[in-house]
Subunit: 186 residues, 2 copies
């Protein structure tokens, strides 16, 4: 191409500009959707003195019973100190319990208590309802598109968690476990 990246700020309306408008709308829709998606659970959490970070921990422990701390860290991508603070609270207040690993006794495997399961359910009830409504209104073809695009937006590092080419509901992780990459921590 002749004009490689130089003409970025030109004024004429072209396919370029159309694309730019599309991309900005995507940015904005993500912002509005995520803002509202997290709003209601955040309010509930505030009432019991917890925050969004607690929600995340409870959610992923619920989805991955027995997950060790290191794996949870890789999902959340926060420091162990940040997670530790949140986990300590959740354990102290009886939402999560730790069980020392049998094979490797350094590992703490995390599990929701009955109280934790109840909290998780209450918190995500709103979110599940919101998604269900959106899915229903948009229809199955749109849902496939939604999943396909979201899959493309996330870092490839976590894409293996979702099966996007097959149909919705195929189990999420048909391909097996995570790739054998070492996480980079400092």
């Amino acid at each position: 191409m002749a004009d490689i990246k130089s003409m970025k700020n030109s004024h004429f309306l072209s396919e370029e500009d159309l694309r730019e408008e599309d991309l900005r709308q995507a940015i904005e829709m993500l912002f509005f959707a995520y803002r509202d998606f997290t709003g209601e659970p955040d309010s509930m959490l505030a009432e019991i003195g917890l925050g969004r970070a607690h929600h995340r921990a409870v959610y992923f422990v619920g989805r991955n019973a027995g997950i060790p701390v290191t794996e949870l860290l890789a999902i959340l991508k926060i420091t162990k100190q940040s997670l530790s603070r949140v986990l300590s609270q959740l354990i102290a207040e009886g939402y999560i319990e730790q069980r020392t690993g049998v094979e490797d006794r350094r590992k703490r495997h995390l599990h929701l208590t009955a109280k934790g399961i109840e909290l998780e359910h209450q918190l995500t009830a709103n979110q599940r309802q919101r998604i269900a409504k959106a899915y229903k209104d948009a229809g199955p073809e749109a849902v496939r598109g939604f999943r396909h695009v979201l899959h493309g937006i996330m870092d490839s590092e976590d894409q293996w968690r979702f099966d996007v080419d097959g149909n919705v509901g195929s189990g999420g992780n048909g391909g097996g476990g995570p790739p054998a990459t070492k996480a980079t921590r400092r």
Copy 2:
């Protein structure tokens, strides 16, 4: 090691469970996509001593040149005190300038400076690229589905900002301005 997608409490696989699994996958995909979507701009901002809140302000001022503070508050849904802190910094550091309204001289209309435009462009470059890649990989039909579902996830209060039935790129707000609802503040 515990395999991540263990059986949980799945006693019976029915349509109910299939739906539940779909909804949870949506929740998780939103989490991963948004986490990675905001990660790179956050890093850039950290280097110049700003945060995500500054990015949001700069972004929406860029998209709505001359927007008064109250309108920006309605978009961000944060308190004026929180926004004020962020705006003051951005003004002090020359990214944004205020112009007193001519019709209503209480209003401060916000504009990006050249410096602000440059910052906005650098910050969203990553995000636009990320979306562009995902859009291209998924195809136009998937993009329509993506937009349709995201539109359904956000509160109806802000849905008017996007035209989701028409084609992508139709200008975003064909229907006119915001509905005549009074914002509820405390």
